[in-house]
Amino acid sequence: MTTIFSARKIITMNPSRPEATHVAVRDGRILGSGSLQELEGWGEYTLDETFKDKIIMPGLVEGHSHAMEGTLWKYTYVGFFDRMDPHGKVWAGAKDIEAVIGRLEEADALIEDEDAPLPAWSLDPIYFNNERVTREDLDRVSTTRPIGIMHASGHILNVNSKALELAGLLKTGINNPGVPLGRDGLPTGELKGPDVMTPVGIHVGFDRDMLACDEQGIIDFAKLCVRSGVTTATDLAARLPDDAVNMMLEVTARKNFPARIVPLRFHHGVTPDELIDHAQKLKTQSTDRLRLGMIKVVVDGSIQGFSARIKWPGYHNGAPNGLWYISPEHLRHIINASLEKNLHIHTHTNGDEATELVLDCMEEGLLKHPAPDHRFTLQHCQLADSAQYRRMAKLGMCVNLFANHHFYWGDEHYKLTVGPERATRMNACATALENGVPMAIHSDAPITPLGPLFTAWCAVNRLTASGRTQGEEEKIDIDEALYAITLGAAYTLKLDGEIGSIETGKRADFAILEDDPEEVDPSKLKDVRVWGTVQDGRLFPAAAL
């Protein structure tokens, strides 16, 4: 059974045939692209003209996201920016504290039990001139139910008095840098860092294992994929216990599940050898729509949380250097064993010192276990300098840069965390490409919204939230950005032979667009409208989700 889709234009990403008007699909795979006449040679077919006025692109690939983006929509959204939920509703951004309170009051009115918790997410006081939300603000919403708002960064939680009371923290005499106190000596309700957030978070309705994605969460995540043109997305850090794997195997195998999910096993909580064993076992369970067996190693923290490991001269505001989340010995062991056993690692490094450590370990590991096509990928890698990009190229590493971060927190990095020069080089896409480092760009959803076309816009324009261009020299052009969100990301997952371009033999995974991203003004790339996706030849219109 062959279907030939017509389109206003097909952007193939196939270098020998970059553009076409038709694409033929059989059994969920691409027979070929070209003119209708060229494709008729494949025999009997159905002509599907659903997309005749639309643009077909290879299905977009999100190389660094977390499926919990789907789960978070259970909670009330109070972010500064407009954001679309899995059902297609666009929630208007809350532009000041009053708007946040208003949103919470609406949510409060919908919950009958006046003691039930009210969890909300995506607050970012940076955009309110750093005016902090206090427990008194939230007490205006309710004094009987615990209320908590997770910040967009995921590093800070704001709660009301009731939540503090339930956690036993509504008292004087607390001496903890993560718990700022008001003039009355009581906590202000702001809680900084996971270790002080957790004991209160459980009272405000944030589930204990928030990162773990449940069945509804992964279904909702896949809906967000369809709405943003994504056909393959990573779930970049999960413990992947058997029951979670079984759930994901079952859900992703359903006929109407619209995305390919690539979960990576992260290194916490097991020894290096257990990690390697688990990854090897997971690899054998892999299916087409659930690609298992890759490893994620978290090396340091985040720059805006001052927990990233950065090189001299350190943080611009004088904060002490950040935290290592793994020892060099363990990192070296995992890298060596993975090279030896042909396992595939992605490392999280934000600071340039953490990146340097990974490069050192790789250099050493590759001498012992030469691996010509390992594609180990530095994720985030936000602060890397040009010498480090030259090393990445020599060591055969890939990079997946956090282009969205530059927009949301670029101003903070400039003023506060690393200062003007290093803020300007952050997420240096142009330097990566110039040095021949295979590159992807990402959202880290739910830290920033899933949406590769928005991510591409960030990398092309390098605007910060305040509207400044930060790092003119690191801008890339639209073609490079579109490559990064398709073949670029697929390459980092070793899936570029299957997805990422529209070529004979590959999966029939398409992003269906209303506007032509190659023709729009670069400043409008983020506004390109998405009709939905085709995944394995199956049509998923966003409007019908």
């Binding site: 903890n176 294992d209 060099p328 450590l357």
Partner: protein
């Protein structure tokens, strides 16, 4: 409303290979009827003698004598909160931090939890490698921050270095550690009474004797007959007792109320005393001049 005494938590820190796991095993072997709950980052590297294990699943190993061992993976706080539900509750929680963790940050967070109190931070240093490690390109500041966070420092594997090395290392450490007591150990063997709260509710000279006979340690009992300011009193104990590693006792303050004083190294905790507590303080000190210097050696030179 009666409130149960908070469960004490000892945080054990130090870089890879310093002997943390050996110390945990040592404490388990000498639990002496105490229900210890051990929290480790991951099970894999914790070699518990097989005959001690009664049952094991993914997250909990049940050991003889009511002791348990749990792995906390990346969610330490949740694992601690789960301890609240254990029946009976453990007498003492021993938390083995990961080799790169900063124990002070962990202790600071734990101090926020209702029903638990941080007993102290014990950091181990591998006598053979600590000075070299402290200059490591990547780990230097982490290791120094670990050392500085200690209430008690165990300089471990002391038997593996020569006497001149030992002197140099101790001198170097003294600069970093200030008033923090340093205990030299082999195979992490330290009298459990140093690390675990095991004083009874009523103190007298008898409670001094039992567990503190190890040769390098001195115990003593002080009667405190006059009313004192508890905080000032605790601070003066630390200032005037070189090598003080642990103290517990009860004092009467100027307003007549009774207070419990707990000192672990340089950490002081003052709380309301239980009913019927009688004034008096037991101290355990380590005498630097005595450490691993036998009389014979002393005179042989």
């Amino acid at each position: 409303m009666t409130e149960a005494e908070p469960t004490p938590i000892t945080v054990i820190g130090g870089y890879l290979g310093c002997g943390k796991t050996t110390l945990v095993n040592h404490l388990l072997r000498h639990a002496d009827g105490k229900r210890l709950a051990i929290l480790v980052n991951e099970f894999g590297e914790l070699q518990i003698d097989a005959d001690l294990i009664e049952a094991q699943d993914d997250e909990v190993i049940s050991l003889g004598g009511g002791c348990v061992c749990c792995s906390y993976g990346n969610d330490l706080i949740t694992a601690i909160l789960d301890m609240e539900k254990m029946d009976p509750r453990p007498d003492h929680i021993i938390l083995e931090a990961s080799g790169v963790a900063l124990p002070a940050a962990i202790a600071s967070s734990l101090s926020l939890l209702n029903g638990f109190s941080v007993d102290g931070i014990v950091v181990l240093a591998d006598a053979e490698t600590i000075r070299q490690r402290s200059t490591d390109k990547y780990m230097s500041d982490t290791i120094l921050r670990q050392l500085e966070s200690a209430d008690i420092l165990l300089l471990n594997k002391i038997d593996l270095i020569s006497d001149p090395e030992r002197k140099t290392t101790l001198g170097w450490l003294a600069e970093i550690m200030g008033k923090t007591p340093i205990i030299e150990t082999q195979k992490s063997a330290v009298p459990p009474a140093i690390l675990l709260r095991d004083f009874g509710r009523h103190l007298d000279s008898e409670s001094v004797a039992a567990p503190h006979q190890a040769e390098n340690f001195q115990s003593s009992f002080m009667a405190v007959d006059v009313p004192v300011d508890p905080t000032e009193f605790a601070e003066s104990l630390i200032a005037n007792n070189r090598g003080l590693v642990r103290a517990k006792g009860f004092v009467k303050s100027h307003d007549g109320s009774m207070h419990t004083i707990q000192i672990v190294g340089t950490r002081v905790e003052i709380t309301h005393a239980p009913d019927g507590a009688k004034p008096g303080v037991v101290t355990i000190s380590v005498g630097p001049q005595k450490i691993s210097v036998t009389e014979g050696h002393d005179k042989s030179g």
